[in-house]
């Protein structure tokens, strides 16, 4: 019986070892194939603006050095390919599958290195310091993205988008690469651990119900003032009319 178990264990272990040894070579072959697929996709979908060699054209900036993180953010949130020029590229339905996005990212990163797609360990929100994440968010992010992450207006039609419903990996990549007019918050400014705390804080805000009652979009005095002026003032006017009207 024991011999059988030992044999079985050895057999599975051996099979595992055999399967994993050539994996390195396979991975590089796979990434080469992925980059080739990405190159084809790039030439078909991106090169008309960004240039065949990523050098940029009159219509689009160079992508040399933007890294895989930038591609994953811009294409993964549907901002690229751009539907039309305007003050800002809006987030819209994603045009590619996750596999195609990964291929594009691998291709752009293979041409010249740049910020990589973040490690999974910074995106789970486990063991996060929410208080620190909140403080960093209020200092670095809240002035544009609103204290509750509800987004806000910038100049000349540009805006800071709401952060609710954005996946952790895209929040991380946005901080790392500074898409469009957002400043860059590199790992020397806000460390990966601190970025993880900011993301965990945003997810905490999103999942914690508002204890102060209806948040009305968390837009502050605009929506709250509108509600008070229309609903509460309307109620007062109605009561006044009822008080002074003669009974039938």
């Amino acid at each position: 019986m024991a011999a059988l178990i030992v044999g079985g264990l050895l057999g599975t272990g051996g099979a595992y070892a055999l399967a994993t040894i050539p994996a390195g070579a396979e991975t590089s072959a796979a990434s080469a194939a992925q980059a080739a697929q990405g190159e084809a996709l790039f030439a078909a979908n991106c090169a008309s603006c960004h240039g065949l060699d990523l050098q940029g054209t009159e219509d689009g900036p160079t992508l040399i050095g933007v890294g895989a993180a930038s591609v994953d953010f811009q294409v993964g949130t549907g901002r690229m390919p751009l539907a039309m020029s305007g003050p800002q590229a809006p987030s819209k339905p994603v045009q590619f599958t996750q596999e195609q996005i990964a291929a594009l990212a691998a291709y752009v990163a293979s041409v010249s290195p740049g910020p990589a797609i973040p490690d999974e360990q910074y995106l789970t929100g486990e063991n996060a310091d929410l208080a620190q994440g909140g403080e960093l968010f209020r200092i670095n992010c809240a002035m544009c993205h609103n204290v509750a992450g509800a987004g806000g207006a910038l100049t000349e039609g540009k805006y800071a988008p709401p952060l609710t419903g954005v996946s952790p990996v895209h929040i991380y990549e946005a901080m790392l690469t500074g898409p469009q007019n957002m400043p860059v918050f590199n790992d020397d400014n806000i460390t990966p651990e601190e970025k993880a705390n900011v993301i965990a804080y945003l997810k905490y805000l999103e999942t914690t119900p508002s204890v102060g009652g209806a948040s009305l979009g968390s837009l502050g005095p605009v929506s709250e003032g509108l509600f008070v002026w229309i609903a509460a003032l309307g109620l007062i006017v109605g009561i006044t009319i009822w008080l002074t009207a003669k009974s039938n």
């Binding site: 007019n181 400043p183 009652g213 039938n248």
Partner: protein, 349 residues
């Protein structure tokens, strides 16, 4: 009705108030009141009974609301540490009390409107001028008081009293003076924690920043080194010394000759305190290099030394001259060369 007749029949009542200066030759004729309309409760005893039942029901609703408030307080207790329970407790108890009080109010008003004696009533305004008898008596009292007190006769007494009354508010001048700042505010407003060699550190951690850390397009929120160690007035100092650090391409910066060495290879530091009314200006757009103040939409162009390009701000944001020390950390060359933040009375510029 009865009061109206009484008033208009009053022989002494003047026709117009003495306050009316212009008397129109052809005044608009007063159309009078529409004929009084009886209410349904005045005509139909069944309706009256029905309204009474409704008001009784409202008072019962109020009783139910009060009892419900107590019941809901017990049903939704406040659990320490659970903010959601506080919300539920206050919301339900508040709604029940609101119902109880509102039902009393609505019931009482409805009672008075539907059931109480409902005839129209007119009460004319009184004339502003009193009757001759009242006016004469008032003048009499004044003269009597003067005679009895000797106010005009005993002149020394009167004059010293007037002088004492005039002098008595003078201590307020000294007291009000104490409302002014104890020290001259100008040096406080002109100087911040920044000085030659003070390192630029990250907000809130206070760790120093290397020039190499600030990559192109970056924005760092900066406090002076040693701010976190202050025991008193930390927030006051932060409110003056807060700085935004940005890196642009050096060729994008238009630097005036006297500020040649104020940036370090395209890294610039500007006061974060708006020159309009002092809001923190930190909405930096890294492609347009515009800095937007969220309070009143003032915009500053970082490429042109934070010149105002839109909005109510009058002056550019003060620039902090920076360089690097021997260890590669960013340091200030000096304090700001002008007072930060909004204008104040004694500001000379």
């Amino acid at each position: 009705m009865t009061e109206q007749h009484e008033l208009s029949a009053h022989p002494e009542a003047p026709e117009r108030s003495s306050g009316i200066a212009v008397i129109s030759e052809h005044p608009v004729e007063n159309p009078g009141f529409p004929p009084e309309r009886p209410r349904v409760t005045d005509l139909d005893p069944k309706q009256e009974k029905g309204q009474e039942r409704r008001i009784v029901a409202l008072f019962f609703v109020s009783i139910i609301g009060s009892v419900a408030a107590i019941a809901l307080y017990i049903l939704f207790p406040i659990i320490p540490g659970d903010m959601q329970s506080v919300r539920n407790n206050t919301m339900f108890v508040g709604l029940a009390i609101a119902l109880a009080l509102l039902a009393i109010g609505v019931g009482v008003v409805h009672w008075s409107k539907a059931l109480m004696h409902g005839h129209d009533l007119v009460e004319e305004r009184h004339a502003t001028r009193g009757s001759e008898a009242t006016r004469g008596r008032a003048a009499e009292i004044f003269t009597e008081a003067n005679q009895e007190s000797g106010f005009t006769r005993r002149r020394l007494l009167r004059n010293t009293l007037i002088t004492a009354a005039v002098v008595s508010p003078l201590p307020a001048v000294v007291l009000l003076r104490d409302l002014a700042p104890a020290a001259d505010p100008v040096p406080l407003l002109k100087h911040t924690m920044w000085d030659k060699g003070v390192r630029l550190t990250r907000d809130p951690s206070g760790t120093p920043i290397r020039a190499a850390d600030v990559t192109l397009g970056s924005a760092f929120h900066v406090i002076p080194e040693g701010l976190n160690e202050l025991e008193h007035g930390r927030l006051e100092e932060k409110a003056k010394a807060a700085v935004l650090l940005m890196r642009l391409k050096p060729e994008d910066l238009h630097v005036s000759p006297e500020r040649e060495d104020w940036n370090f290879r395209g890294i610039v530091a500007y006061s974060k305190i708006c020159t309009h009314v002092g809001c923190p200006v930190a909405l930096y757009e890294q492609q347009t290099h515009h800095l937007l103040c969220p309070c009143h939409q003032s915009q500053f162009d970082i490429t042109r030394e934070a010149r105002v390009i839109f909005g109510p701000a009058k002056r550019p944001l003060p620039q902090l001259p920076i360089t690097v020390d021997d260890d590669g950390y960013l340091v200030a060359r000096s304090d700001f060369t002008e007072p930060v933040g909004p204008s104040f009375w004694e500001r000379v510029l």
